[in-house]
Amino acid sequence: MPVSRVLIRGGRVLDPASDHDAIADLLIEDGQIAACASLIPAEDCDVIDAAGLWVAPGFVDMHAHLREPGQEYKEDIASGGRAAVAGGFTSVVCMANTDPANDDPSVTQYILDRAAKDSPARIHPIAAATRGLAGEVMTEMAALCEAGAVAFSDDGRTIMDTAVMRHVLEYSKLVGAAIVVHAEDCGLRGSGAVNEGLTATRLGLPGNPAAAEEIMVSRDIRLVELTGARLHVAHVSAAGSVELIRQARERGLQVTAEVTPHHLTLTDEATLGFDTSTKMAPPLRSQHDVTALRAALTEGVIDAVATDHAPHAGYEKDVEFTGAPDGIIGLETAFAVVNDLVQQQEICPLELMRRMSTNPARILDLPAGTLAARAPADVVLLDPERCWTYDPAKGYSKSRNSPWAGQQLTGQVMATLVGGRLVYRNGDGVLFR
């Protein structure tokens, strides 16, 4: 069988792993990166013209809810995997709050089996940190890691019992995986549905103060000090949390953090029309918080961009605001939304690619986020200037709960390759089975 060769020609190759940022050709052989150089001859190659495009390692989403098993009406691994590659993500980490929860190796194995058959993107499960996400009894971390779990999290919920959290962190050192926390003090949040502040006051909706997040981030950092474990703070939303994370890292603690595209670009004022597609946990916060999050991402205090892709059926969101489930979809819009930071010249393209691929891969120890020779050829081609109007109905996710529906965005995914195989091309759509 002949060697399959793909040549991506003339693009701006952005490889954060090697700090490469220059026009070059990228050669792929047998699903692996073979070479990155200028003017590689196109002999026996499928050629993809990348002139004017960015060529980067495929994005790694370290926080998505693919809903399978149990809530396939919202999303499944097949639809979520397609949405991922349409958004330039070649690896997706799926959260444990499925039904049943991914707290048992059989569920982990099920997810991986489905992914192998159904998903064009690589799927890596995060397993629950406690059984049934109940925050009481820790899961069998060694067995789950053996089955393929890459980290542990009760995401969507906070382990409120500090003693349980301490033991979860301590025990995780056995497997060396990060504990990913949804930091939100449940009692202080109460029925809070939007950020506590002027917007909540105007809307008459119960507020969820930034302190609810900061208190838990602070607690968990103290526990990292106590235990020496690895902590990853999911979807940081508040300026105060950023400060706590910065200080923890200055003290040399193993604390990493992610931020979502929506927390980087929207404030709570997006909720002024009561659109439930702006309801999420943690909530959209103030301009002050957004400014701090953007600076922290640029600076590197926040390591990664993660979507927190949270699909919900239309009828679930078409209810009164407080009754609507939290979360929005984000796989297909992530790049276009965060590209705003490049457009505003707050971050350079290479660093943005690092936060979307190299860093999340590093935190979870995944073989991704690099264009080094012999690395799996997971590659994304991006047009950073292209304007398009997002229509969730034409997307691949089963759900449509997006605050960007109908909006014009700048920056589009032009092609996605997983293991050297073209799985998405703008105009043709997902090319998978």
């Binding site: 909540a200 105007r202 909706l205 029309g273 009561f274 605001f321 407080t322 009754g323």
Partner: protein
Amino acid sequence: MIGQDLLGIENLEREQIELILETAERMQEIGAREVKKVPTLRGHTLVNLFFEPSTRTQTSFEIAGKRLSADVVNFSASSSSLTKAESLLDTGKTIDAMDPDAVIVRHKVAGVPQRLADVLEAPVINAGDGAHEHPSQALLDMLTVSQEKGRIEGLTVAIIGDIAHSRVARSNIYGFTKLGAEVRVAGPPTMLPARVEALGVKAYTSLREALDGADVVMALRIQNERIAGACFPSVREYSATFGLDRVKLRYARPDAIVMHPGPVNRGVELSHDLADQRPSVVLDQVRNGVALRMALLYLIAGRRSAVERG
């Protein structure tokens, strides 16, 4: 304004408020007639869509509609069963398909009228949504004050009680400030919402300071069942610190009037005698409510498509 939604006072212009109040004053004359009915909205259908029971507001809208000869249909629904059986928007669309000329919506959660207005062709009138707005109540309060005092501009209005959970407070804050009154809010710190002063009011935790020089004192209803224990220690302590009686009322101007959106918890927000005797104007508020809602229905009822065809 035909076919336009009335979701809150926040997005009304001063001129619109003044038109509504002027129209309501004209409508008051009909209430004084022997035959309290005019043919204006013959052939119009109004739907009272109340997800949360409210006998007062629903009855007031119903009488207002009937005095204008509209057909008024009451659609009461428990919100909990609705969210399970069909989505809120489906309920709205179902009612809209029956071609009403206005849908009057009450819901315990903020924003529901807005969400319905986004999908309904009929204009939506917010009859109270959670702690968001209660525009018809604020308008009837403004009508009552302007008739009692002859003006609103330059008055000092003190709103006392659970500001955080009050839609009446929010709508009145917007309305009275737009018409040039000074608005103060006062209550226990646990009942003052975040950054309330950004709405253009002064916030007090001292009843005495809030009442000093006030022309209008508006007491809000305490939702005992929901709030007690969380936002204040006991009804007794609330009543002692923020309950109005004739002694505490001496802090206000001698000619100050006392208002309450009702129903009054006698002995809690207002002393027994202040619940219905001068300077309380609570019953005038109720009476004015019908004329005010007639004005709203007169100005608003009518389907958008009919207007566009016309």
